[in-house]
């Protein structure tokens, strides 16, 4: 398989499969949903392999009159995101099949179709080679996620859908305007290390950069732009797990990295003060998200606020890199990007497993569930410890890199990470403790089924395995 074929396979598969998934018979559909994820993953792996051999593939559609070219041109950062999204898509697809079946969902075809398109759009965001292509996939991601948020079609779901669209489309409008504006300075809009706006007048760079950051900041859940995320938890759990912990929100964070490092450039970010603004917004978000998570009793809501907080760990890392040029901060950001994805998807899948089996969704109702659903709650505990930053889970290494980076710069920044870690422990760890310590309230419920439990256990195992790799590398 050539690199270019792998590249198109990674992005196109989900879109091509969507109509088939929507109308296929249930038996074939469920199989195809998982196969779509596997084929896309194979595509991403193919791209990574070709890149390792020094022949990174790139695709570019000749620009029509008056338009920038459509271009897919993966780089290291893009491949990391694509790999994370595609890898986690496979267990999430299995989980989605099991979850929808167990909940006797009425619209499984529609769900799988839009789910596949959403991840495919996220892969497009990851692999886009210029700002225009990035914008197209980013907007596509916004729209195809809408039916998933509204999936249950209850009043609450529709209200959440409206809120979701209001925020993300407003962000999209900022992005569109800024992209058109940037285009007057750079006809190719190609992502370039150091920023493709380097030659543009400083005043305009600030304007374009601020608009772009606002646009991607909505999906990245920066405080003030985050309100859609907790409400979107009304969606079925596979959506919360893969999209609102991995694909959609990470597209926002990835967008922050793209804008800061490849559009505006670290230097211009620092000189214009945008990096400072971004850092302060990230600190505020980390603190706010943690405190809000502490107060939330509904489990998925608590996880959503935790996502808000942890996304800004990454954003803060990017901002610190722009401010001080310290690459440890950037490494930490990239690691936490991966770590949070694996850990948070595990937490969400566990939450969905519990609610499917017991119908319980409040933290306060979870006493004793640990003895009834040992695999689910153990996985939850592993992921929770990882997110707090306990070895040997991957979360330890990401936090270690972030904190050492921050320490090298000055104590104040590292205090943010340490305090947030403490808060993470305070809002996550009581959950498994309560689930094990208390006596079960009644007879054991039926388990949610292997299609639900196996993927979440696999994700937890992945979190440990990823943490063991750097550990073994550190050994002599």
């Amino acid at each position: 398989m050539t690199g270019a074929a792998a590249l198109s396979m990674a992005v196109v598969t989900g879109f091509v499969a969507a109509p088939v998934l929507a109308w296929a018979r249930p038996r074939y559909r469920d199989f195809l949903a998982v196969a779509t994820a596997a084929v896309s993953l194979a595509g991403v792996v193919g791209v990574a392999k070709a890149g390792q051999e020094g022949a990174m593939p790139a695709l570019s559609l000749a620009p029509a009159a008056g338009l920038p070219p459509l271009s897919l041109a993966p780089d290291g950062a893009g491949l990391v995101f694509a790999m994370v999204a595609a890898t986690l898509w496979v267990p999430a697809a299995v989980y989605a099949v099991g979850y929808l079946r167990a909940n006797h969902d009425q619209r499984q075809g529609r769900f799988h179709a839009f789910f596949a398109m959403a991840v495919a759009a996220a892969l497009g965001v990851a692999l886009a080679g210029n700002l225009f292509t990035f914008l197209l996939f980013f907007e596509a991601l916004t729209l195809v996620t809408w039916p998933l948020v509204v999936h249950r079609e209850s009043d609450r779901a529709r209200r959440a859908g409206r809120l979701y669209l209001a925020y993300t489309l407003a962000g999209g409008v900022c992005l569109l305007g800024a992209t058109a504006w940037a285009w007057t300075h750079s006809p190719g809009l190609e992502f370039t290390q150091g920023g493709f706006l380097a030659g543009a007048p400083a005043g305009e760079v600030v304007g374009i950069g601020a608009l772009l950051l606002l646009g991607v900041g909505v999906k990245a859940g920066l405080v003030g732009l985050h309100a859609w995320l907790p409400e979107a938890m009304v969606a079925p759990t596979p959506v919360s797990a893969l999209l609102h912990a991995v694909a959609v929100v990470k597209a926002g964070v990835f967008g922050v990295a793209r804008v800061a490092l490849f559009v505006v450039g670290p230097e211009a970010m620092r000189e214009s003060g945008l990096a400072w603004a971004l850092a302060l917004a990230a600190v505020a978000t980390v603190v706010f998200g943690s405190l809000a998570a502490l107060r939330a009793d509904q489990l998925k809501r608590r996880l959503a606020y935790s996502t808000v907080s942890h996304l800004s760990y990454i954003v803060l890392g990017i901002a610190l890199y722009c401010l001080y040029g310290l690459s440890t901060a950037l490494v930490g950001a990239a690691l936490h990007f991966v770590a949070h994805a694996v850990l948070k998807i595990t937490l969400f899948m566990a939450a969905g497993s519990v609610s499917t089996a017991t119908g319980k969704s409040q933290v306060s109702e979870l006493g004793g569930v640990g003895r009834q659903m040992p695999v689910t709650v153990s996985s939850f505990a592993v992921a929770a410890l990882g997110l707090v930053g306990i070895p040997p889970m991957i979360g330890f290494f990401s936090k270690f890199a972030l904190v050492t980076g921050a320490v090298a710069i000055g104590g104040w920044w590292s205090a943010v990470y340490l305090a947030a870690g403490l808060l993470t422990a305070m809002y996550l760890l009581p959950i498994p403790i309560k689930a094990w310590a208390e006596a079960p309230p009644g007879p054991a419920p039926r388990q949610a089924g292997p299609l639900v439990v196996v993927p979440l256990a696999a994700a937890a195992a992945l979190a440990v395995a990823l943490g063991l790799i750097p550990l073994t590398m550190a050994l002599p």
């Binding site: 008056g66 409008v173 569109l176 305007g177 058109a180």
Partner: protein, 475 residues
């Protein structure tokens, strides 16, 4: 060659044939109308091909010659608009046999007037002298009055209102043309441009061209002269609503630009360009915000037309070749999408779906209408890869390139307002609790023309590039 004249033939001959075929009692009116629209499309494509080969094409009729004579001319812009008019008219008239079945005896006048409207709008697009343009303007008004009066109870009142405003507009235009003619001694637009090119234009020419602009602006529904539009569009019969609203204001907007280009120095003197641009900015916002407040689907679509046409006029007012091409591209995008939207809304009205509150479940009950409505709505919002995205992108970038950033900002930001009302409808359509409702039987005759328009909107990526390079030949 005489292609601009040939362009007008099928619709004119067709409308006469419809009348003469009526006594045969064979109900040939609507088939003839569809066939004539098809012929018009062929002629428009031939014209476009000719323009692509040789540039500007002109036809002199009647033997008067300049400076009085009847002259038709088409450059890339006019040829493009003619193709758009023909495509939408063909779809709307092919849809009519199904949609206008309840008209009964009024089928014949509908077919004849529909073709007459098409004829006059094409004429408005290719007329090369001021008086011929006036004649087509009046014919289009007359056809419009008659067509709009067919429909719901209040349609007659709306049509009467349109008659009064349209009549005044025609009179203003003629008054202005008289001033210009007396001052310059010519009616021909090209002649006129040559005669007032050097030196400052006389006050008579400035005043005259301002009056002509106001007259055409009424027909194009430029803010704040759009008052006639919402009622006329929303009370019209569904067959009329698929035909007239998508086309009428577009042809007038194009004529407005052509007159403006001919008397450019006078426009500059009167400050009409910047004024028109400012009015467009306000119009986009006004129309969008007004649409948000509507519960009636057709009325919401009508208000959205006010905003979308303002976008087209704004692009024309920016005036650089890129902006004009962008405006015409957006004109095409909006005409195709809006015709499909009105078709879907018209079909639902048969099922008793009038307002947003009736929409839940309508998508499942009539999937073709739901699909076309969704595609059209996304296009109006400007979602890629729909046609509206390319129109808005071209408008925003060309406006930015020429420093008209308030207009560019409005084009982009209005998408959000558009999303708030169009996606509200789309959401209700698919995600609502379905009311128990049995749709009346609809066959392919209902679905096909609308689906064709939807496909054109959806496949815009394929035609927008060639369209822009064709328009770039305007030079």
């Amino acid at each position: 060659m005489t292609w601009p004249a040939v362009l007008l033939l099928p619709s004119l001959v067709g409308s006469i044939a419809v009348v003469f075929a009526h006594p045969l009692r064979l109900r040939l009116g609507l088939p003839i109308a569809a066939a004539a629209a098809g012929g018009t499309l062929v002629a428009a494509l031939a014209l476009a091909r000719e323009v692509a080969a040789v540039g500007e094409v002109a036809a002199v009729l009647g033997g008067w010659g300049r400076p009085y004579g009847v002259e038709l001319a088409a450059g890339p812009g006019a040829a493009f608009v003619a193709v758009v008019l023909a495509v939408v008219a063909l779809a709307a008239l092919a849809w009519a046999p199904a949609a206008a079945a309840d008209l009964g005896d009024r089928e014949t006048p509908f077919a004849a007037l529909g073709l007459l409207l098409l004829f006059s709008l094409l004429g408005l697009t290719v007329a090369a002298d001021g008086f011929t343009l006036y004649v087509f303007l009046e014919i289009s008004s007359l056809a419009g009055y008659a067509l709009f009066s067919v429909g719901r109870r209040r349609a007659a009142v709306a049509a009467f209102r349109y008659l009064l405003t349209g009549g005044t507009a025609g009179a203003l235009y003629l008054l202005g043309l008289g001033h210009v003619f007396v001052a310059t001694g010519t009616l021909n637009l090209a002649d006129l441009a040559a005669r007032i090119a050097g030196g400052a234009p006389s006050p008579a020419v400035v005043a005259g061209s301002a009056l002509m602009a106001v007259g055409l602006a009424v027909k194009a529904a430029v803010f704040p002269l759009h008052g006639w539009l919402p009622d006329a569009y929303s009370y019209a019969h569904r067959a009329v609503a698929a035909l007239a609203p998508p086309l009428m204001t577009k042809a007038a907007a194009f004529a407005l630009w052509r007159v403006g280009a001919a008397v450019a120095p006078a426009w500059a003197e009167a400050g009409l360009g910047p004024a028109l641009l400012a009015l467009s900015v306000v119009g986009v916002l006004w129309g969008s915000v007004a649409a948000v407040g509507q519960r009636d689907i057709s009325r919401m679509l009508a208000w959205s037309s006010v905003a979308q046409v303002a976008m087209v006029v704004g692009g024309l007012a920016v005036g650089t070749p890129a902006a004009v091409a962008a405006a015409l591209l957006h004109l095409a995008a909006h005409a195709l999408a809006k015709a499909g939207l009105f078709m879907a809304a018209g079909a639902w009205r048969l099922d008793g779906v009038h307002t947003l509150d009736d929409l839940p479940g309508a998508g499942a009950a009539r999937p073709w209408a739901g699909a076309v409505f969704t595609v059209g709505a996304l296009s109006l919002v400007g979602v890629p890869p729909m046609a509206g995205f390319f129109g808005k992108w071209a408008l925003a970038t060309s406006a930015l390139a020429s420093g008209a950033w308030p207009f560019a900002a409005v084009v982009v930001v209005s998408s959000l307002v558009t999303a708030s009302y169009m996606l509200r409808a789309v959401g209700a359509l698919w995600f609502g609790e379905a009311a128990d409702r049995s749709p009346s039987a609809h066959g392919l005759a209902w679905a096909l023309p609308a689906a064709a328009l939807g496909a054109l909107v959806l496949a815009a990526a394929a035609w927008q590039g060639p369209a822009l390079s064709f328009l770039a030949r305007a030079g």
